[in-house]
Amino acid sequence: MHKLTLTELAAGLRSKAFSSVELTQHFLDRTHQHHDLNAFITVSADSALQQAQAADQLLATGNAGPLAGIPIAQKDIFCTLGTKTSCGSKMLDNFIAPYDATVVEHFNSAGAVMLGKLNMDEFAMGSSNENSFYGPVRNPWATDCVPGGSSGGSAAAVAARLAPAVTGTDTGGSIRQPAALCGITGLKPTYGRVSRYGMIAYASSLDQGGPMARSAEDAALLLQVMAGFDPKDSTSVDQTVPDYSTSLNDSLQGLKIGLPKQFFSAELDSQMAATIQAAIAEYQKLGAEVKEVDMPNLQLAIPAYYVIASAECSSNLSRYDGVRFGYRCQNPADLTDLYTRSRGEAFGAEVKRRILMGTYALSAGYYDAYYLKAQQVRRLISDDFKRALSEVDVLMGPVTPNTAFNIGEKTSDPIQMYLEDIYTIAINLAGLPAMSIPAGFIDGKPVGLHVIGNYFSEAKLLNVGHRYQQVTDWHLQVPKGFE
């Protein structure tokens, strides 16, 4: 059952080849069997089986939606009523959210079953999942390697077939980079497309939730449930959600693909370059035209991102004060000691670095030099994308500079880790949708192809991904031991 696509699972449930309870139990068993991957922070077996029973009843009525009875899992950044939401942090190790995130509500009303909550870098800050309070996640393709981050548990769970499809969030590459490193399909939608209500905030002008699945076809079904206007999210965009599945098979004849010169510089690893070029050649066979585009300000995306993200993080994370919820230190001497020690004892090193950096960038006398400057650079980067996307339909390139690296390899130098996201970060600054699709392997480790589109062009991206997946089988490969 774990080999079937979402569409096949939905058909199997309807034809009564298996029930949702059987399907759910099957994935719970797999999760148990492969718990050493550490993909889950919480497995909610009891509530999952209850949801599955309810879904079986709903399916029997004949009025169930496409995801009814299908087990999914949520990144542990989405608040779930009654189930722990830790955000990968000691700070929220005891936190049971008093409400459901809008995304979770959407899955619940679609009748989907939640298997549990997935491991992640603490507060979504990281590119390797090594910053989780619950320990690193292992990459199913090479278990001594990282799965990427911050949605590392999400990517590993899909790659290992512990869940057919899951959610992730992407602030600087946190859906696409782990999707690339684990050989799955991950889509970061346009900023504002998916509600951020109940999605624990890291950098509010960049954060965006999205689907992570095995194929573009599955991702389309997931996004259909996730996307939509939400009055509870002040930056949610009130725009009609198209049917993402109907355009999947559209022809790519005449599709204009732009290749940003800066993505293919001499520094790009030669095997990575060859793999990406081979994928692009496949698109040419499908009728696409390729042209080079120049995006001169891309190189400053990383510095601008770390100013903006850190500044927003320092502001957002000021809510964790040990007073209303979350971790509180023992025997505080006074109020300042309560704040300082609760935060000092419960935040990990990377979160502390970003809070400190953001506080510095926003402090008196430095605001203009850092925060304002970064917002201006952000405008120039966004203008680069606007210009490029006025000439072409999509942009393509690598998602990551390298394949999955060893656990521990990049933890000593934060900047080394930041450079992991060199190709993904600019897209968040511009707020554009982008996707990673499996495009090959280097030494047995997956490579992702980056497809970037214009605002609200998710249907086009899924179409571009799906057509490629009709003529390639990279997305069908299963890591050894997880067949």
Binding site: P303, R341, Q376
Partner: protein, 95 residues
Amino acid sequence: MSLTANDVKKIAHLARLGIAEQDVEHYAKDLSGVLALMTQMGQLDTIGVTPMAHPLDQMQRLRDDAVTETDQRDHFQTIAPQTEAGLYLVPKVID
């Protein structure tokens, strides 16, 4: 430009963030590295460029000034570290 141990202590105080004494030097080194990365932005002339705060240049949406939330104090306080008589407790602030 680099940050000293004293700078780190000052910023940590502003952020009400406890940093162990033995880790201060380490943070100073790491943050100086990140700061050096950030100063690369200086190479770009941004005079006259409008800062971008929101990817879609959207304005804050307003809603009607009407009560939409119900009182859920008891529900919310079930996850609080310490409460009494419906109030959140913190160490004594005024003697």
